[in-house]
Amino acid sequence: MERIENHPILGETPKRKKVTFSYDGKMLEGYEGEPIATALKAAGVMAHRYTAKTHEPRGIFCAIGRCTDCVMIVDGKPNIRTCITPLEAGMVVQTQYGVSATPEE
């Protein structure tokens, strides 16, 4: 999804530092300090995790850290709320299947 570079009320979006991070083995770019979920959305990632029992996709829902739909595995730790966790250079972000990083057969 497109980032907003200029806004009629908020003006120009402040320049921020670009960083790279890995998403399921691919290298992506985002801005340091923005929520991981924002960087993923800018890269077109919609599904953050798949539920344990019925393997349904889940993505950003509340964007304020309440609903836990957007949790992923970040630097090896599962259940990280990506909508409120700031992006850092070199982070390893993985789609979460149930609570693991590998899809079940």
Binding site: M1, E2, R3, P8, A47, C62, A63
Partner: protein
Amino acid sequence: MKIERYDMIVIGAGPAGLSAAIEAAKKGLKPIVFDENARPGGQLFKQIHKFFGSKEHKAKVRGFKIGEELLEEAEEYGVEVILNATVVGLYPEKEVTVKIGDKVKHYKGDAILVATGASENMVNFEGWTKPGVIGAGAAQTMMNLHHIKPGNRILMLGSGNVGLVVSYQLMQAGCEVVALADAAPRVGGYGVHAAKVARCGVPFYLSHTIVKVEGDECVTGVVIGQVGPDWKVIPGTEKHFDVDTVCLAVGLSPMSQLLKQAEVKMNDTKGGHVPECDKHGATSVPGIYAAGDVSGIEEASSAMIEGRMSGTAIACYLGYMTEEERDSRIDELEKQLDTLRQGMFAPKNRGKLVEKTDEGIDVSMNLLNKGFVTDDEIERFPGVTHQKGIHPVIECTQNIPCNPCQDACKMGCIRIGENITSLPAIDPEKKCIGCGMCVASCSGQSIFLVEEDVEEGYGEVTMPYEFLPVPEVGDRGVALGRNGQYVCDAEVTKVRIAPAFDHTYLLTIKVPNDMVMRARFYKKEA
């Protein structure tokens, strides 16, 4: 176990909590405020529209500016705000447990204010869990805080003020809102908010709900259908829209769990589970207070006043001011709060169909059913007059607590009077100079300047404009009516901006003179 003690502990650094802490700090208390978020201000920083009310309610100031002012005031009075601090327990002994990072810390307060706000309600339908179905708050967070479009093509469910305001903000962010649906038979929010969305061409589907959301990995479409009196979808009425995002704005519920845990007496109301409070916000447990949305959903403006009332009451409870001082301050605040609770949208009118204004004028039923006032209906309101020369046309047709337009006009053309909810009326004896201050001051974007005869066969309409790119003088496009449909071709003849307009451009278009009372929006292409 170490317990830290404070005079006053505030849970929640939103408009209510911060206001309470500031008010108490002014009297010499040293409050501490905990908030689970990384930034203070609650939802204020996502509110980019101009607020309603009067001067003392900071009317016509945008929400995020009010947030900045509140933070400055908090700093000035030395209010301590601890962020990323989730209060996980509140006990009747006025103890709180707070999770900060991986640690849980204990605090005890002589008084505690719970200002935890509200959480969004949800509805479920087939496919509601798919990525791309989001809350309206999420949309605001993404576009107004994190500078990313929530989606390209969006359907909004919910016609309350949140659904209307967020629909408009989505368009400001460059998204397309394909439709606005609500299962209720009538628009729930302010008519002026509905009108500014409708005139951009967004169709309103009242008595409609979502049947299902389509897509495998994420949303690719949505089906809505008309609901009958039994709230079930009438077969055959389904309509499909290609969308990538469905946004839910179906109400808020108080986040009152902590109060319940503290054994505060609770009431189960239509508006959620709320604490029983006196007018100062004191709950049934001595020393525990509640303010803002947690004690009943209202606007941020009311939350700030409620917070100040509770801060005052706590200062008195802890001996920092006399009861006389308290009562005089509370009286003053109560008057401010009372004016916000007047008019058609007053808490006592919630859910009721108000058919006439206080002035005895029939309310526009099209506004309630479709989001816009029709060309015939608009003529009966006191802000709408026909005059020679330039003059304001005020399409404010419901009694809402708001009066900045009256002060904005230095020529005295606009009259609301003592009662803040009265419909603005035009005084035809006073001469409009076309300065446009009223247009920019109207939080509801319902004021236009109209001049019927500018040149042979043509007149001009000046409208508030808050989109990018800003049109330029000489641009040719089309004028849309209140219903968002094409009315005529139009040429941009003036584009004005000034610091006092606060990012609202005044766009003047030239249209055939029989169209000046119909043209209400400008688009580059049809």
